[in-house]
């Protein structure tokens, strides 16, 4: 039985100019095993973030349903932590407080000491010990997303939902944080669903990459296995011959086929 099951999901947005509803994506189904890392890649506007929001419970599907660990998803919850593209940290809280609010919410019966120790552990894990009392505004984009990751991992969710988490981070920092994410994923054995439009990022991190055709009525056109052994790193992965095969395949899809693909 799959850990996450997305069944025949359809999302319609109300039409802007009286043309009736517009279909963003139609009949999307996918399955994830526990501990799997899956990325979904596609052009802007194909509805991949909407799909992620539906899994998160922040948006509702027009048709179909999502099940996690045998339970139908009806709304947002602590078992599905989202890492947002624009970090979504509370700007009036320090780094420490931003993570503590999540840990307190997840463990209402814990003592203050236990919560604080737990928060500290995750702050140390992302290397932000020296900045724990700073407000997000005083941090760079990369550091802010480290806080976002620490907050998500700290509640040990069943699933992590990453919504283009590195899109607003400069290329050099991005690589470092991607490797930190892999390390945390290895340590915690989390199940991760990531939305991205960065092909290299998807190959580096994922077990499987889903290719989404362009909307309206977007579909998951293909599922690409990334059979590159782990641990992977940015420097060694490019020596793998299969790396380029996968990369070329995905890019060819995005350039040539994404807009024409019609699967019924």
């Amino acid at each position: 039985m799959p850990y996450l099951a997305v069944n025949n999901l359809t999302k319609n947005f109300p039409g802007g100019n009286g043309n009736g509803a517009q279909c963003i994506f139609k009949n999307i189904s996918l399955e994830m095993q526990k501990g799997e890392f899956i990325s979904i890649i596609g052009h802007s506007g194909c509805g991949k973030s909407t799909l992620l929001n539906i899994v998160a419970g922040l948006d509702t599907p027009s048709e179909g349903r999502v099940e996690l660990d045998g339970k139908v998803i009806t709304g947002p919850g602590l078992d599905r932590m989202v890492v947002f593209q624009n970090f979504a940290l509370m700007p009036w809280m320090t780094v420490f407080e931003n993570i503590r609010v999540a840990v307190t919410a997840a463990h209402k019966d814990w003592s203050v000491k236990k919560v604080d120790d737990w928060v500290q552990k995750y702050i140390n894990m992302v290397g932000l010990t020296y900045a724990e009392n700073k407000k997000p505004a005083a941090l760079s984009g990369g550091m802010r997303q480290r806080v976002g990751l620490a907050r998500a991992f700290s509640v040990e969710p069943k699933m992590l939902l990453l919504d283009e988490p590195f899109a607003q981070i400069d290329a050099l920092t991005r690589g470092t944080i991607q490797e930190e994410l892999v390390r945390m994923w290895n340590e915690t054995g989390s199940t991760v669903f990531m939305v991205t439009h960065d092909v290299d990022e998807a190959i580096l991190l994922s077990d499987r990459i889903l290719l989404m055709s362009a909307g309206p009525e977007a579909q998951i056109a293909e599922s690409v296995e990334v059979a590159i052994p782990r641990p992977r790193s940015r420097s060694t992965i490019i020596e793998q011959s299969s790396y380029y095969v996968i990369r070329n395949h995905i890019i060819r899809f995005l350039v040539e086929r994404a807009h024409k693909e019609v699967t019924v």
């Binding site: 709304g75 947002p76 602590l78 599905r80 989202v82 509370m90 919410a105 997840a106 407000k135 505004a137």
Partner: protein, 260 residues
């Protein structure tokens, strides 16, 4: 360094403006040219007399200026305090519920533009007590700006923050005190400053018309005594107290502000 010099220049310019104003005032009122309006020197003399004994108490209608100021400020604290608390509670409810907000907003806009003094006859008729009426006028004056700002601030909280609080399944208490109020805090405080301003503005005519002890009462009383020096002194005092109160609120605003 440059900033410090600029700050010094501003202070200097401020002083020059004051000096020019006082000079013009003096010249225009000297030797009866100002239709009997007092100049700065007699006003200062009167002021010194009042300030020398600020807290004397010679019965119900003859009290020191310090006592009168405290009366007005006390009225402000209670009227403004209760008005703002009510405004924030309703503002949060309206801000979180778009349907109610849309339904009620036109009325708020209408009520907001009514001078609190206009309510006075109605209030006085209803409660039949001038002290309570004065308090209610201050309450009314404080209510609308904070209510409008709170509902606007809460309704416009970034979606991300609300998403995070629903993912974290925060209970209403945490949601309110850890997310909603801090996120809307700067807008709420801005509303409170406007409320404070309009309450302080309303207090003077309310006290004058109702004969409730305070600075407004003092102004009207001195006008009836035809003591213009006292009236001018009271005007200046009202302005200074207003600035001091606003300064206090500004300090709170600085603490609550956040950089996004």
């Amino acid at each position: 360094m440059a900033a410090l010099v600029k700050q010094k220049n501003s202070l200097l310019l401020s002083m020059v403006i004051l000096a020019v104003f006082l000079m013009l005032w003096h010249l225009l009122t000297i030797g009866g040219t100002g239709q009997g309006l007092p100049g700065p020197v007699p006003v200062l003399k009167t002021a010194m007399e009042f300030i020398r004994h600020p807290f004397y108490d010679n019965g119900p209608n003859d009290k020191g200026i310090g006592i009168l100021t405290l009366y007005s400020m006390g009225r402000l604290v209670f009227g403004f305090g209760s008005g703002v608390v009510v405004a924030i509670i309703f503002g949060v409810v309206l801000g979180l519920n778009r349907t109610i907000f849309r339904a009620v907003n036109p009325y708020i806009q209408i009520l907001k533009s009514i001078s609190p003094i206009a309510w006075m006859p109605l209030l006085l008729y209803s409660v039949k007590n001038s002290g309570i009426t004065a308090l209610l006028v201050v309450f009314m004056a404080s209510l609308w700006p904070t209510l409008a700002n709170t509902s606007f601030g809460v309704a416009n909280i970034k979606k991300d923050y609300m998403h995070v609080s629903s993912i974290l399944q925060l209970n209403w208490f945490s949601r309110l005190f850890k997310v909603v109020l801090p996120a809307a805090g700067p807008t709420i405080i801005a509303g409170m400053r406007i409320s404070m301003g309009s309450a302080w503005v309303a207090i003077v005519p309310a006290e004058a018309l109702l004969g409730s002890l305070g600075l407004g009462y003092f102004v009207w009383n001195e006008w009836n005594n035809l003591s213009l020096t006292s009236v001018i002194f009271a005007i200046i005092l009202i302005g200074i107290v207003g600035v001091i109160i606003d300064f206090g609120l500004n300090k709170i605003a600085e603490r609550i502000a956040f950089v996004d």
